[in-house]
């Protein structure tokens, strides 16, 4: 009787252990995960999928005035069926759409990865009448079906260089 009871606890331990592993696999591993890489200047930033799972709604990235930001959007399909989605990328400021960057479907095979790349040129976005000493912000909105990722692109101002004073005429 005592042995039976003892074995029952052993079986319970094993059941809990295997259920834990099953949860890690089904809930933690399986699914669709997107990773965003942003290269601006000489720095590459990686926005991992857990950033969005922590319910951070925004991510901020800095780009120097007049330079380009290179985006790479990686989509990992950890499911038994292939995944299809429409990816739309646009640039916004003050709730107003300024630029449609990309709009295309993506198909990712089961347990495979797909990726899209695009470039955002700050010279195309910045108004002509603002001085380079002024910073600026835009929101890059990545839509995958119903899911939205917001990346705030902060345009670093160029340092103010004082103009040389004119030489007074002799």
């Amino acid at each position: 009787m005592a042995t039976k009871r003892r074995n029952l606890f052993l079986y319970l331990t094993l059941v809990c252990f295997f259920c834990l592993i099953a949860i890690f696999i089904v809930d933690g591993y399986m699914g669709i995960y997107d990773t965003i890489h942003i290269t601006a200047g000489e720095r590459e930033q990686e926005i991992e999928p857990d950033v969005w799972l922590r319910q951070d709604r925004f991510w901020s990235a800095g780009v120097n005035w007049g330079e380009k930001a290179f985006f790479r959007y990686e989509l990992a399909n950890r499911q038994f069926s292939s995944y299809t989605a429409d990816i739309e990328v646009s640039v916004w400021r003050m709730q107003e759409k300024l630029l449609d960057v990309l709009s295309q479907p993506i198909v990712v095979a089961p347990f495979d990865e797909g990726q899209l790349e695009w470039v955002i040129d700050t010279t195309e976005l910045l108004p002509e009448d603002i001085p380079p000493e002024q910073s600026y912000e835009y929101t890059v909105l990545i839509k995958r079906g119903e899911i939205e990722r917001n990346i705030i692109v902060y345009i670093n101002p160029t340092p103010y260089l004082p103009k040389p004073a004119p030489v007074p005429p002799r």
Binding site: T13, C16, L20, I23, F24, G28, Y29, L53
Partner: protein, 58 residues
């Protein structure tokens, strides 16, 4: 008998290491419900293991 204990010890160590590895790798991707169920299962697992070892006379 002593060899059995050593083997049990290794088994437990591997189980804990395995769960620890999976936790470190995938716990950040778990949903809130998944985290809660995992916590309850972990408590249940160690409680059952404790009772089993107690039954063995440890």
């Amino acid at each position: 008998m002593k060899l059995e204990y050593v083997l049990f010890g290794f088994g437990i160590l591997f189980c804990v290491a395995g769960v620890g590895y999976l936790a470190a790798e995938y716990v950040k991707y778990l949903s809130e419900v998944g985290k809660l169920v995992s916590l309850l299962l972990t408590v249940g697992m160690f409680a059952s293991l404790g009772k089993y070892l107690e039954g063995l006379g440890w």
